[in-house]
Subunit: 681 residues, 2 copies
C-alpha cells in the first residue's frame, strides 16, 4: 500500500515529513532474507538465545575458555554438530544447512562459534575430507562427539597465508613404517591454533611430506597430542598464545614437534599415499593442483565467516538504529529535542550501512547455495569449485571489514553508551577483529580474486579477434576504456550542464548502475592486464605485479561489490508486495549509487561520468537516504533478532522510557506553575 | 648528504632500488619533533617505561582498577601532578609542560592516563578554575595529594554533548543557606564518571542553579560523596558502569542525588555567586557566554587527547613498521621471501599513516603552545581563547580517529601476531576507542569548528564591498568558486593532455598544495554559507542547517587538515640538515597530496583539477611512497619509543632472529646435501 502522509507512527516511532510512504512487510521480508535454510537458522537462533550458550562479559580467560568448552558439549547434546557429516556418522550430509546454523551462533558468543568451527569445521572436517574410510571409522566418532577435542595445525609462526611454505616436516621412515613429524626451527612452530593451549587431545598436522628423499609438499597427518591427564606426549611441546584482542574463550596456542613418530597410516591419504616401502602415489599428478585440492575444504570457513559477519552487522544496526530513534539531543525548531536519527549525519552514518548489510545478505545466500551445490555433489566440478572459491574469496573480505566498520560506526553513533560492555558493540567488535585476517587474510584473498579475473581476461584475449584487441588497446591508451556500450551514453557529454534532476534520471535506473559498476571492474582488470602484458615483454613481471598490487585489490573489491549488487537486484525479483518492493528498490539504489559515489574520482577521471552527473549522484544519494529514514526501524527489525540475541540495554526501549519520564516531569512541572524561569527571559 | 645508491643497508635492513637516498638524522629529528617541552616529555617517558606504571593485560576489572589507583599514588610521589597548579599549591603554573607530560602517560596505560586526567585535569582543575581562594585552600591540597579522589560529575545518561540541557538541579534554600542538589528523573543520573563507581570521595557536580525562582543555568558545586568507609552519604546513590570496551582500569559509574543539601559556599563561584539572601550575581552578564566560559577549562582535555592520540599512533607505527621490515612472506623474483614492507599494498597501508602522524605531531605542538599562552596568561583574551577552542576542536577529532585507524591498520598489517595481546595493538585500540566520543564527541566538535568558520565568513561578507560579493555569488552559482587566484592556473585547462610528468610538476610544489587545500575549505564554507543565507530568506534555516550537516563536518575536517599541513610545512623551516629536510619534504608532500587524492572527486567536480592532473596526483603519491619506503624504519624510530614503551614482542627483533634461524637451517641443509628434492623437479 502506498500512501502520502504528513506524519505517521510506526513501531512506536513518530515519522514525519511530506513523502510517499510505503510500509514494508517486515514479517514476510524477514523470512525471505533468511533464505533457503530459514528453518535451520531459526532453530539455531533459538539455541543462541539461551543464556547458557552465551558469553558473560568480564569472565577471566580461564573461566571463559571452560564455559565455551561446556557450550561445545551442549552443541553436541542438542545435535547441532553432525548435520554436515554423512548419515553413517549420524549426520544429514546437509552442508548448506550446517553452515547456516553455524553462522547464527555468532550472536551467542563468537568464541563459542569459532571454537566449534575449529572442532567440527576444521578438525573433524579434515578427517572426513582428507582421510579415507579407515580414518573416518577410527577418528570421526570421537571428533564429532567431542571425546577428542582436536586441533587444526596448519598455520606456523612464520607462515600463515603462504601455507605451501610451512617448515614442519613429516619424513617417512620405511624401516619402522612411521612418519617422523619435526619442527626444524622456531618459525615453524604451529601457532594461533584453537584448542592447542589446553583442550586439544589430537591434531591434524600439516607438514611437508618427505619420502625417499623427495618432498611431495604439504599433507595432513593425524597426530595424538595429549594423554588423558592432559599432558603432552613425548616429543611434543607448546605454549599458550595467551590473551588476545578478542575470542578469549578459545584456547589458542602453539605446538612444536621434536621427531615425533606416528604410524604410516596416520597420513590422511585421500589425495596422496605412501606405501610401506616409501613409494609415493597420488591421483592428482600436479603437486600444485594437489595442494589446492587438499586446501579446498578451507572454503567452508570463508563461507561461514561471510555469513557470520553479516549477522554481526545486523545485530549492530538493530542496536544503533533502535537507540538512534529514541535518544534525543539538542533542540530542534519546535524547541523539543530531536532524536539522533533525524540528524543528517546520523542518517548518513547508519542508513548506507543498512543497504550494504542487505546486499551482503543476498550475496551470502548465493554463496551458500553454491557451497551446498559443490559439497553435496549436485554440482561438484573443477570449474564450480573454482567459482565457489573465487566467490568466497571475494565476499569474505567485504563482509568481515563491513562488520568491523558497522560495529564501530554503531558504537560511535551511540556515544558513551556504545562503549559500555552492557551494550554489546565493543565486545562483538573485539571478537570479530580477527575475522579480517584469519581463514585467509582479506588482502591475500582479494589478490586471489584478482588473479582469477586476470586469467579470465587473458582467456578472452586469447580468443579475441584482432579488431577487438585493437579496440581494447586503443581504449587503454586513451585512458578511456568503455567496455559496455551503454556507458558511452553516460560519459560522452562530459560538459553537459542540464539540471541536476535530469542528470539523476540518467544514472539512477538499475541498468545504469549495473553498467557503471561492471565497467569499473572490467576497466580496472583490463588496465592491469595491459600493464602485465607490457611487463612480460620487458621482463619486469614481478616488479610490475607488485606495482599493481593496490589496483588488483581495488579490482577484486569492485568485483565483489558488483556481485553483491547483482545478488540484491536478483533478490528484488522475489518480492511481490508492492510497498516492500518499493522501499527495497530504494535501498538497492542506495547501495549501488553509494558505491559509485565512493569511487566518483575514478568515474570522473576515466570520463565515465560528467561533472554534472557526478554531482547528481551525491544529491540523489542524499534524497534516497531521506526517503529511507522513516523505514530505518522496520529495515533493521526485519533482521529479526530478539532481545535475547541483541542483549543490549539501549535496544530494549529503556531510552524511550527515560525520554518519556523526563518529558512527563517537565510537563508536570510546567503545569504546576513552579517551573523556574530562565534567566534570559 | 645525498647519494645515489643501488642497494644500501640502514639499521640492519637492506634497502635496494635505484634512487637518490638521503639518510635522516634521527637523533636530531626525534628531539626536534618533541617540541618545546622535550625534556618534560622525556622525563614522563622514563616514568612510563617503568613496569609498575604499566598495565598488565588480563587483570580483572577489580584488580586493574586497584592497580591504576596505586599508580595515581605513584604519580603523586613522583611529583607528576602539581605542575599545572600555582606555586602556592606546590606547582609550577606550567600548563603546557603539564599536558606534555600527561600525554606521554598513554604509553604506560591509557586507564592510568585518563584516571589521572579525571583527578587532576578535571576535578582538581575545576576547583582551581571555577572556584575562588577559599575553595582552593579548602579542597585543592587534598585533591592534589589524592587524599580526596574526585569525580567530575557533568555528563548525564540523557545529556552528553549538550551540557546546557542537563537535568540535575541545585536549588538555593535561603532559609538554611544551602543548595539542594537533586536528580529529577532517570535520564538526569550522572553517568560515565571516572572515580564514581568506587574511589570517589567528593565530586564537582554540574547542575542548573535555581534561586528565587530563576534558573541561571549550569554551575559547578562541590559535593562530598562518600565517608571514610566508602559508603555514600545520605541521599546519594549510584551504580557501577561495569565493564567497558576499554579503559577498564577506571571505575566509571553513575550518581544520583535525592535532595542532597550542601552549604551555599560549596558553589564554585568564580563566574557566578548566590548571596545569603538568594541574590544571584555574575560578572558575565550573558548566560550563554557565562556557560561557555565555565566550560572553557574543558579545552585542556581536548588538547591532551590530541597529543596522547598522536603518541598512540607513533607506538602503533613503530611496532608495525619494525615487524613489516622483518617478517617475510611469499617468494620474490630471487626465490627469497620478500619482507612485508616491500609489498606495495603494505607500503600504501602504512607509509601515508607515518606522514599523517608527523603532520599531527607538528600541529599538536602548535596547539600546545597556544594552550600554554592562554592558560599562562601570556595571551589570554576572548579572541585567543576562542581560537584555542576552535583549534582544539578541529585537531582532536582528526587525531583520535587517526589513532584508531592507525592501530587497526597496524593490527591487520601484522596479521595474527597483531591480534595477540602480547603485541599491544588491540589493547591500545580498545582503550583509545572512547577518545573519539568523550571530551567532546568528534562530530559535535567538528560542527563547532564549522560554525566558527561560518561566523568568520559572515564577518568577511558584512565587510565585503558589493563587487566582491557579486563575484562570490556568481562563482557559487556556477559551482566554480575559485577563491585563490593561483588556482585558476591549475584548473583552467580542464582538458589538457600533456604528459603525466608535466602535470605533476604543476601540482606538487608547496604553493599548489596550499592553494588546493585552502580553496577546498573556503569553497565548502562559502557554499554552506550561501545555502544558509538563502534559507534564512525562506525561513528554512533549521532544515537547511541539518541538510548541510555532512558538509559542515566535511568543511571542518578539511580545515583541520589544512592546519596540520601548515604546521608540517612550518616545521620544515626549522630543519637545517639537508638530507633530513629532503626526506621530510617528501613526507609533507605525501601528506598534502594524499589529502588531495582522498578528495579528488571534489576537485574534479568543481573544476579545480583536470582529469590529467588528477591522475598525475595518484601517480605522484605512488612515487613518493616508493621514495619514502627505504626511510620508513628511520621515520618511526625517530618517534623514539624504546622496548619498555612499545612492549610488543614482534617489535623486539625476535622476528629477525626467527628469519635468520630459518635461513641458516635451510642453508645448512642445502650444504649438507641431505635436502629433499621437490617433487616437481
Amino acid at each position: 500500500m502506498t500512501i502520502t502522509v504528513e506524519k505517521i507512527e510506526i513501531a512506536g516511532i513518530e515519522k514525519s515529513g511530506s513523502f510517499v510512504d510505503s510500509s514494508i512487510d517486515t514479517a514476510w521480508l524477514g523470512r525471505y532474507i533468511m533464505g533457503r535454510w530459514a528453518d535451520v537458522r531459526l532453530e539455531s537462533r533459538a539455541l543462541s538465545g539461551r543464556p547458557e550458550m552465551q558469553d558473560v562479559p568480564g569472565l577471566s580467560k580461564v573461566d571463559h575458555r571452560e564455559r565455551v568448552m561446556g557450550q561445545l558439549k551442549l552443541l553436541v547434546e542438542h545435535g547441532q554438530v553432525h548435520r554436515a557429516f554423512p548419515p553413517a556418522f549420524g549426520g544429514l550430509s546437509d552442508h548448506g544447512g550446517h553452515l547456516a546454523a553455524f553462522e547464527e551462533l555468532v550472536v551467542a558468543d563468537p568464541s563459542m562459534q569459532i571454537k566449534s568451527g575449529v572442532q567440527w569445521g576444521l578438525f573433524a572436517s579434515a578427517i572426513q575430507h582428507l582421510g579415507t574410510v579407515e580414518h573416518h571409522a577410527a577418528w570421526l566418532p570421537d571428533a564429532l562427539s567431542l571425546a577428542t577435542p582436536g586441533v587444526y595445525a596448519m598455520t606456523e609462526t612464520g607462515h600463515g597465508s603462504d601455507v605451501a611454505s610451512i617448515g614442519t616436516t613429516a619424513t617417512y621412515d620405511a624401516v619402522t613404517q612411521e612418519f617422523v613429524i619435526n619442527t626444524p626451527f622456531r618459525g615453524a612452530w604451529k601457532d594461533y591454533l584453537g584448542n592447542a593451549a589446553v583442550h586439544g587431545k589430537a591434531a591434524v598436522v600439516f607438514a611437508q611430506l618427505i619420502t625417499a628423499g623427495i618432498s611431495h609438499g604439504v599433507h595432513a597427518f593425524y597426530v595424538p597430542l595429549r594423554d588423558e591427564a592432559g599432558e603432552f606426549f613425548a616429543g611434543i611441546g607448546g605454549e599458550d598464545d595467551g590473551l588476545k584482542g578478542g575470542l578469549n574463550g578459545i584456547d589458542n596456542g602453539r605446538l612444536h614437534f621434536d621427531h615425533v613418530r606416528i604410524p604410516r597410516t596416520n597420513l590422511l591419504n585421500r589425495y596422496g599415499n605412501v606405501a610401506e616401502d616409501g613409494t609415493y602415489t597420488s591421483d592428482i599428478k600436479s603437486p600444485g593442483r594437489r595442494f589446492f585440492t587438499m586446501l579446498g575444504t578451507l572454503v567452508q570457513g570463508r563461507v561461514s565467516l561471510d555469513g557470520a559477519s553479516v549477522n554481526a552487522s545486523k545485530v549492530a544496526l538493530q542496536i544503533a538504529v533502535t537507540y538512534g530513534n529514541q535518544r534525543r539531543q539538542f533542540s530542534g525548531p519546535s524547541g523539543e529535542e530531536k532524536v539522533l536519527l533525524d540528524y543528517q549525519r546520523h542518517q548518513r552514518r547508519l542508513i548506507p550501512l543498512i543497504a550494504t548489510t542487505y546486499a551482503q545478505t543476498f550475496a551470502h545466500e548465493v554463496l551458500l547455495e553454491k557451497f551446498d551445490a559443490v559439497f553435496s555433489g549436485v554440482d561438484d566440478t573443477d570449474a564450480s569449485r573454482q567459482d565457489l572459491e573465487t566467490l568466497a574469496a571475494a565476499l569474505k573480505p567485504l563482509s568481515t571489514w563491513h562488520a568491523l566498520h558497522t560495529l564501530q560506526e554503531s558504537r560511535e553513533a551511540t556515544g558513551g553508551q556504545g562503549f559500555l560492555a552492557e551494550n554489546r558493540l565493543t565486545g562483538l567488535r573485539a571478537d570479530l577483529d580477527v575475522y579480517v585476517t584469519f581463514e585467509g587474510d582479506n588482502t591475500v584473498l582479494l589478490q586471489l580474486v584478482a588473479k582469477r579475473l586476470l586469467t579470465d581476461l587473458s582467456k578472452k584475449f586469447s580468443s579475441a579477434d584482432a579488431s577487438t584487441m585493437a579496440r581494447l588497446v586503443i581504449d587503454q591508451v586513451a585512458g578511456n576504456a568503455v567496455s559496455a556500450s551503454g556507458l558511452r551514453r553516460l560519459g560522452q557529454r562530459v560538459h553537459d550542464r542540464g539540471s541536476t534532476a535530469r542528470a539523476v534520471t540518467q544514472v539512477r535506473d538499475a541498468d545504469s548502475q549495473r553498467e557503471l559498476l561492471t565497467d569499473r571492474v572490467e576497466s580496472l582488470v583490463a588496465s592491469i592486464g595491459a600493464e602485465l602484458r607490457a611487463a612480460k615483454k620487458n621482463g619486469t613481471t614481478e616488479e610490475t605485479f607488485n606495482a599493481q598490487q593496490s589496483n588488483l585489490i581495488e579490482a577484486a573489491t569492485a568485483h565483489g561489490q558488483l556481485l553483491q549488487w547483482e545478488a540484491f537486484t536478483d533478490g528484488l525479483a522475489g518480492i511481490t508486495d508492492a510497498p516492500t518492493l518499493h522501499v527495497m528498490t530504494w535501498l538497492r539504489d542506495l547501495f549501488g549509487l553509494h558505491l559509485i559515489e565512493e569511487n566518483l574520482a575514478w568515474y570522473l577521471i576515466n570520463g565515465r561520468l560528467s561533472r554534472q552527473r557526478a554531482s547528481a549522484i551525491t544529491a540523489y544519494v542524499d534524497r534516497l537516504i531521506e526517503r529511507l529514514r522513516p523505514h530505518a526501524q522496520d529495515l533493521v527489525d526485519t533482521f529479526g533478532y530478539g532481545p535475547e540475541h541483541l542483549r543490549a540495554d539501549i535496544a530494549t526501549g529503556v531510552e524511550q522510557d527515560r525520554q518519556d519520564e523526563a518529558r512527563a516531569y517537565t510537563e508536570a512541572l510546567a503545569a504546576s506553575g513552579n517551573a523556574p524561569v530562565p534567566e534570559k527571559h
